[in-house]
Amino acid sequence: MTAESDTERTRQTIFRIMQETAFARALDMTLVSAAAGVAVLKIPYQEKLVGNPDTGIVHGGVITSLLDHTLGCAVFSALETLELIATLDLRIDYMRAAEPGRDIFAHAAVTKIATSIAFASGTAYHDEPGDPIATSTAAFMIVTDNGRKAGASRG
């Protein structure tokens, strides 16, 4: 199997998971790109996402939701079989306010997949990850026994 078809299958899997997730749909989150252990997602600016009615700045919780979902997608894309994962903890550092009217992207990468735990980190941004709105790290529990298999294959 070629690396290309592998990537395409990963992308399709993540796309399906996103479609089945009501809250991601409600926020109009879309998948920009995905590869094994990496995901990029986008949320378009919408009035309903505003957290401060005086400034029009998007709610911190929107950034939290986008990062949680993107980090989760990165973990999904690194697993060999489709497992259930649960966020154990999530840390968000808000670097600067998101700019009203602009789409928000998030890039996430898996740091390590262990036996039943996965670590990932990511960044929310407008133009490039080097100019972050927020950065994030998280630990996830891989819920089913098959997590062992996924972990073993990644040393």
Partner: protein, 151 residues
């Protein structure tokens, strides 16, 4: 002239927080409400199908719970410190302790420390039993320079 928050009683300040919740589009989108019992605010997240993040369990999205706790912490600061403006989050750390079932969720927040510009807040969310929290947040929030000068 509008009465400043500094001289208002608990009931009037709770009404202000409820009005603020109505004005925040994302809080409305989540479906948040507030109730006061004595000197404690309880924030309520009404269950709705669009809040689901895991369709298999089903369970509330981690982002929903995080956003609910962050908004609860922000409004506790506004209420408790009699702020006129919403503080800005600096960082938040969320521990997910149990799955969020598709039912109403409650939260209370406590100000751990108030500094000149920065406040540290802890918040907990629960569903059926207060003693079994589904998530806990702690975070730092920046108050506007104008608010800091009030002290």
């Amino acid at each position: 002239m509008v009465e400043p928050a500094a001289t208002k009683g608990p009931a009037a300040r709770t009404a202000d927080v409820a009005t603020l919740l109505e004005r925040i589009p994302f809080a409305r989108f989540l479906g948040m409400e507030v109730e006061r019992k004595g000197n404690e605010l309880t924030f309520i997240l009404r269950y709705a199908p669009h809040l689901i993040g895991n369709p298999i369990l089903p369970a509330l999205h981690g982002g929903v719970i995080g956003a609910f706790l962050e908004q609860s912490a922000l409004l506790e600061l506004v209420w408790d410190l009699r702020l006129e403006r919403l503080p800005k989050p600096i960082d938040v750390s969320i521990d997910y302790l149990r799955p969020g079932h598709p039912v109403d969720t409650y939260a209370r927040a406590v100000i751990t420390k108030r500094g000149r510009r920065v406040a540290n807040v802890r918040a907990e969310a629960w569903q059926d039993q207060r003693a079994k929290p589904i998530a806990a947040l702690h975070g730092h929030f920046m108050m506007s320079p104008a608010e800091a000068q009030k002290e």
